[in-house]
């Protein structure tokens, strides 16, 4: 079996809604996720995206790496609520919400929000609301690894 066949077999046959809200250990491809959202409707005319990545500084201290822990089940439930409310309240066509867990190297992707609408204004608004809401209501915790030790991050200003 060629590598290409293996890759195709590993992908889901249909793009169901479950793929639009995920908490996963592995990295994601922004191109693939954009394609997934664009396939949902031909009425999409504006897409806003937020990508959160791992910084090497936090509150003036060096950070060597980050570990994310999540509450399996509740985290997915809250992300599904965010997607549904963003679609309902902001009049956007589709929203994708992905968050990684486990150990993340500095510079790597952490979180991705894609909001697709007919026009840019709704897309921007839904995207900003979704990432702010994610930080408020999603049970995901961040452990920063610093030269002085490990610190659970408490605030989300």
């Amino acid at each position: 079996m060629s590598l290409e066949q293996v890759t195709k077999a590993d992908q889901p046959a249909t793009d169901d809604e479950a793929m639009l809200v995920r908490v996963q250990r592995e990295d994601f491809s922004i191109d693939e996720e954009l394609k997934r959202v664009r396939r949902r409707s031909k009425r999409i005319g504006g897409i806003a995206m937020f990508l959160g990545t791992a910084r090497d500084r936090s509150k003036g201290k060096d950070v060597d790496g980050i570990t994310f822990e999540h509450y399996e089940g509740m985290a997915q439930k809250k992300l599904r609520e965010i997607r549904e409310r963003a679609i309902k309240d902001f009049g956007v066509i589709e929203v994708l919400v992905l968050h990684r867990y486990g150990e993340i190297t500095i510079g790597e992707n952490i979180v991705l929000i894609i909001a697709a609408a007919e026009h840019r204004a709704e897309a921007f608004r839904a995207c900003q609301w979704a990432i702010d809401e994610l930080k408020q209501i999603t049970p995901i915790w961040k452990l920063e690894h610093t030269p002085e030790g490990e610190v659970w991050v408490e605030e989300h200003p």
């Binding site: 049970p139 995901i140 961040k142 408490e154 989300h156």
Partner: protein, 85 residues
């Protein structure tokens, strides 16, 4: 006997345990659960009293007067931190 899932700093404060198993004798509300935790793990109890750590029942943040039933999924949730804005 109820089992409580721990996350983040609460896991550390409980001596790196992922879960706590506790018996509720005097009342079955969330506030009774908080009292039992406070007696066994005062550092976690203090965070619960200050509402820095929240209790969830069946994957929703629970009010202190909510009654806990057998088979409920209970967890202690320290402050969420998806990152800074």
């Amino acid at each position: 006997m109820v089992t409580i899932q721990l996350f983040g700093m609460t896991k550390m404060l409980a001596g790196n345990q992922g879960t706590l198993s506790l018996s509720l004798h005097d009342g079955k509300r969330v506030k009774d659960l908080v009292s039992v935790i406070d007696a066994a793990y005062p550092k976690i109890g203090e965070l619960l009293q200050k509402k820095k750590v929240l209790v969830s029942v069946n994957q929703e943040i629970a009010h202190e007067d909510l009654e806990v039933n057998d088979g409920d999924e209970i967890a202690l949730l320290p402050p969420f931190a998806g990152g800074n804005r």
